[in-house]
């Protein structure tokens, strides 16, 4: 692994030579994270380096390469094992009337909600910053129909094309604008998968209602051996002006999943959490307060209306002199034993991150 890391770095730096008109950008980060258990505490220090090589576009072709090295220094100078993850390594052809993208690429069908129950890859973005599962080996054909209407067809290999070419997943998404609203309809076939429903159909909508941003989603999940299930999402976002100067940004949404949902699969897929409940009614919210140009305070929360459990995630962000970002965050899991958001024995988690974009 060490050799691979060194080789990767050396190759990247060599490729960035001015003679080849390449540039390298990225972010170096140092993260301390700790978990507070019922009667224990664990902490870990992790460094990471994300690099992106910017290749010049050649005619209609565009090559993107972006990778993440975790613990590269501890791997080189210590006994820890580092890891390499290619977030992007794809070739895009921008043809007349279509775009073809082949290789490791992010597939995200986000539309502005905190949680998207009908995304191509399920996951709660607001609760999980590193959505590495969104980066997948795939072939995407994108067909623009007019300035805001398009069709995207995706064939992906969630476990990796080389690692497990037999496991395929595919989806199609149509997106258009109607009366100032962003409207999208999608279908995903998960193929063979352990816990997710095999097929889902999703509809999303986002637009304005007066001074409010409003959005919603409807999901239909079905599997040949199980009864179908539905999810409903309705949300609103708003900027509250504090004395003209400070604008507090707020977002609140409700997510409901029909009681006879497909076992634990959907909850696992959406929240990366296990739960014994047979239904899910969540209120998810975020509020962000800009302290000044460089610093902000925010809070993300999720409340399970059925069992009363709660996640609170305060975050302080500041850009320090020298262009270094400081993020200090915590997550509190509140609720009784066996509830959705209070997994025993985890009680709280905290993190302090310093990062430098270049």
């Amino acid at each position: 692994m060490n050799k691979l890391l060194i080789l990767t770095l050396a190759l990247s730096l060599a490729l960035s030579s001015p003679a080849l008109a390449l540039e390298i950008g990225g972010e170096a980060a140092l993260l301390w994270s700790g978990s507070f258990l019922e009667d224990d505490f664990t902490g870990e220090l992790t460094e990471s380096l994300e690099l992106e090589v910017f290749f010049p576009r050649w005619k209609s072709l565009e090559l993107r390469y972006n990778f993440l090295l975790s613990k590269p220094l501890q791997a080189l100078f210590g006994d820890e094992e580092g890891s390499y993850f290619a977030k992007k390594l794809y070739l895009k052809h921008r043809g007349r009337g279509f775009h073809l993208t082949v290789g490791r690429q992010p597939i995200s069908w986000s539309f502005g909600s905190l949680i998207n129950p009908v995304d191509f890859t399920l996951g709660a973005e607001a609760l999980d910053k590193e959505q590495l599962s969104k980066y997948t080996d795939a072939v995407e054909v994108y067909i623009p129909l007019n300035w805001n209407s398009n069709l995207a067809l995706v064939l992906s290999y969630p476990e990796g094309f080389i690692e497990e070419p037999g496991r395929k997943k595919w989806g199609i998404r149509g997106r258009t604008g109607v009366g100032g609203y962003d409207l999208a309809l999608n279908y995903v076939n998960e193929g063979e998968h352990g816990y997710l429903p095999r097929q889902r159909l999703g509809l999303t909508l986002k637009g304005d209602a007066g001074d409010f941003g409003v959005y919603g989603a409807l999901g239909l999940y079905f599997d040949q051996d199980l009864p179908s299930s539905r999810s409903y999402l309705a949300g609103v976002d708003y900027s509250y002006n504090l004395d003209y100067d400070t604008k507090i940004l707020m977002q609140l949404e409700y997510l409901g999943i029909q009681p006879d949902s497909l076992e634990e699969g959907l909850k696992m897929g959406l929240l990366k959490m296990d739960a014994s409940d047979d239904r899910l009614d969540l209120l998810i919210g975020s509020i962000s307060y800009p302290i000044d140009y460089f610093a902000s305070l925010s809070l993300v929360t999720a409340f399970n209306l059925d069992d009363g459990s709660l996640i609170l995630g305060p975050l302080y962000q500041n850009t320090l002199p020298g262009n270094i970002d400081l993020n200090v965050g915590a997550t509190f899991f509140l609720g009784g034993d066996g509830t959705l958001f209070a997994p025993d024995p985890l009680r709280a988690a905290a993190s302090v991150e310093l990062s430098y974009p270049f």
Partner: protein
Amino acid sequence: MKRLIGLFLCFLFLVHLGAAFAAELTAEEIIRRRDHNEYVNTASAEAEMIIVNNNRKTTKTMVSYADEDNGLVIFTNPRDRGTKFLKRGDDLWMFFPDAEELIKISGHMLNQGMMGSDFSYQDIMESDKLTDLYDFTLLGEEELNGRPCYVLEGIAAPGKEVSYYRRKSWVDKEKFIGWKEELYARSGRLLKVMETKRIEQIGERWYPMEMVMEDKLRKNTRTEFIIKAIEFNPEIPADTFTLENLR
């Protein structure tokens, strides 16, 4: 000799007539001439935005394209590299480069500071002519930084949605460029002051190349907006202002 005196008198008359004509410009005519300089129909530009707060400073660089009601801004500095904003009419879209997500931004965000600056998205991407948005009256004349200026007051035209209800403008009497602008809320409170620091003659028009915006509700803060290069009426590909081009 009489002919010479006659010519001289004629010359004096014409000079006087010209001065009288210049002095009698209406507020609408002054703003129309300013719009002629500053209103951009089609353009592409490279710019730098420097956000200053006490002793701290951050710089954002961008390239932008504008065509009537449409605008596209692409950030190029390391922190925001690849972030794009597309404005089509009243719709604003944002492209997040990391996950390559394309999100329609809610309308209320248009009044937020763009990327944390004193310029709102509306300030940067507002494409209407001032004469279409405000009813101006001429308040008088003043000298500002050694330049003779008209001082005008603009009140939002009925039915028009604008970021600032009232604006007081100092417009150069010769070059018809806005040197200073005070931007007020409906309550009469002064919100922002924008000053032009450098102008340049590009072709037949004068254009502001360096501006400073100060948020008067914050202390010791300002945002400098510096245009590094600008081209008027370039040929912009037809698919520039599309979601397809944001990806």
